[in-house]
């Protein structure tokens, strides 16, 4: 065996393991969303999480990958590699093999897709959700992916989004926001006099398990984005973990001070907020930078959960606050906190480390461009769905619960539920 081949094998092994961890995040999303919503819709939310992955896996393979990594049409979209993406001649195929790279990209695409189910939970028609899943994995995600990771125009600008605060989380988050807004709030969420009514989740332990699974999976998501074995992965794991930990602590304290008691489900959201926020910069910030980013994420998530409620955008699990807000913010904060390989050719330096405003400007352009694209396409998609097959279940179905009305009965057949 030659050393080059052995290196390839280590690359492949590491990226495959990381990819499997990212896959496992699907379980995390499913559990978080299930736990934070009501028991009468638990089977439905499970099914949505399952189907967005299943549908997405197939369409991303057949079409999406080509749009993302195929030969570029002006830096805007890939144009080759459909049906048989393994036939593409990508450099990275030479190290990672086509299988490993496509696998890794598939699970990332699926992460973006699955974010939306939480924000639109408890009232979206199942069929419409399937259509949405199809479209985001087919085109919405791959196009942005091309811009940033497929050699497209944003990557050429020098836009930094190491593991996908923007590509993955903000896309999911923007789509979630548009979807939740068009869909309208759940019955009873906002009172006649504008008051916000709580609709507590039904299974906090399983929601918490979901958060732990996501946190665990993030050790594949961020360090795995090296796309090969690398000495940097330890640093990346540390920044990832410190950001999550400090965001968690901050949310715990903030809810305690502002709401009287430390709020369990919000604190769990806090962990996710820290993770999303560090994702763009996990490789390029220092450990103390990651703590700062985590702290900011913690404040942001609490504020924005309240903010969206005041806007009457009903997001049962806080997906927009976590993925959109912290995804955008994490990308921008790279412009402040980046301090990578200072003094070298590859240096990436933010404002706080003397890099000036340039990087921040590029990050802002990227965020704006991705936001515009995703909001526009998501708006068209959801509007068309609404006008054709309909986006929302009937009032009666919503009250009785989606499990009984859209599927084959209650998710918890044996337990008595409260009045």
């Amino acid at each position: 065996m030659e050393i080059a081949e052995l290196t390839r094998m280590l690359d492949v092994t590491w990226v495959l393991v990381a990819g499997a961890l990212v896959f496992f995040m699907q379980a995390g999303f499913a559990m978080v969303e299930t736990g934070f919503t009501r028991s009468k819709n638990a089977g439905n939310i499970i099914m949505k999480n399952l189907m967005d992955f299943a549908i997405g896996s197939v369409v991303f393979f057949v079409v999406g990958f080509g749009l993302m990594f195929g030969e570029s049409a002006g830096g805007f979209v890939g144009t080759t590699g459909f049906i048989n993406p393994t036939n593409l001649k990508l450099d990275i195929f030479e190290t990672l093999t086509p299988g490993t790279f496509i696998f890794f990209q598939t699970v990332f695409c699926a992460t973006a897709a699955t974010i939306v189910s939480g924000a639109m939970a408890e009232r979206t028609k199942f069929l419409s959700y399937c259509v949405y899943s199809f479209i985001i994995s087919l085109v919405i995600y791959p196009v942005v992916g091309h811009w940033i990771w497929g050699g497209g125009w944003l990557s050429q600008l020098g836009f930094v989004d190491f593991a996908g605060s923007t590509v993955v989380h903000s896309i999911g988050g923007w789509a979630a926001l548009v979807g939740a807004a068009i869909l309208g709030p759940r019955i009873g969420k906002y009172g006649k006099n504008g008051e916000v009514n709580a609709i507590p989740g039904h299974n906090i332990p399983i929601g918490a398990l979901g958060v732990f699974i996501l946190w665990f999976g993030w050790f594949g998501f961020n360090p795995g984005s090296t796309l090969g074995a690398s000495l940097e992965i330890g640093h990346i794991a540390m920044t990832t973990n410190l950001a999550a930990a400090s965001a968690t602590v901050v949310v715990m304290i903030v809810t305690w001070l502002t709401m009287g008691k430390p709020d369990v489900s919000m604190t769990l959201n806090g962990s996710l907020a820290g993770l999303v926020c560090i994702t763009a910069g996990c490789q390029v910030v220092t450990m103390w930078g990651s703590i700062a980013i985590g702290v900011i994420a913690g404040f942001a998530v609490v504020f924005f959960v309240g903010f969206f409620d005041r806007c009457k955008i009903d997001d049962p699990v806080g997906a927009t606050s976590v993925h959109l807000v912290c995804g955008v913010m994490g990308t921008l904060l790279v412009g402040l906190f980046a301090n990578y390989a200072p003094g070298t050719e590859n240096a990436i330096t933010g404002l706080f480390y003397g890099g000036g405003l340039k990087l921040l400007g590029i990050q802002t352009i990227g965020v704006a461009a991705v936001g515009t694209w995703t909001v526009a396409t998501a708006f068209i998609m959801f509007t068309v769905i609404k006008k054709t097959i309909g986006l929302r279940v009937s009032e009666e179905e919503e009250i009785r619960g989606l499990d009984v009305c859209e599927h084959n009965g209650p998710a918890y057949g044996d337990f008595m539920t409260k009045i």
Binding site: V196, A198, P200, D263, V302
Partner: protein
């Protein structure tokens, strides 16, 4: 034929153990316990979930039902009230109803013999 009464006692679950002991001492032959949600003078409380306030005005209570003969009925009423009362709002209520008939399924006995 002596008549029978059903005594229906609504209490907080914290008081259940003491009530059970008291009823046993009085010689009641059986009880039925049901989980209910109660709404009375006790006005509930407010919780904050993810920053949104919500009021819990239905409070979990236990309904204890026991059918007794008229002999011990007054005794039971007094004893229960004494045992359970704390003087705080939410202590609960007792309601009493006439029982027209009772049957022990095992043997088919009826009336007083059945209880």
């Amino acid at each position: 034929m002596k008549t029978m009464k059903k005594i229906e006692i609504i209490i907080k679950s914290e008081k259940l153990e003491e009530l059970k002991v008291a009823l046993n001492e009085l010689g009641v032959t059986g009880m039925m316990l049901t989980n209910i949600m109660g709404f009375g003078n006790q006005k509930g409380y407010t919780q904050t979930y993810r920053g949104a306030k919500y009021t819990v005005n239905l409070l979990p209570k236990v309904k204890v039902e026991t059918v007794v003969c008229d002999d011990i009925y007054h005794q039971v009423l007094t004893k229960v009230q004494e045992t359970v009362a704390t003087g705080n709002i939410g202590d609960g209520k007792i309601f009493v109803y006439e029982v027209a008939e009772a049957v022990r399924i095992r043997t088919g006995e009826t009336g007083e013999n059945a209880i």
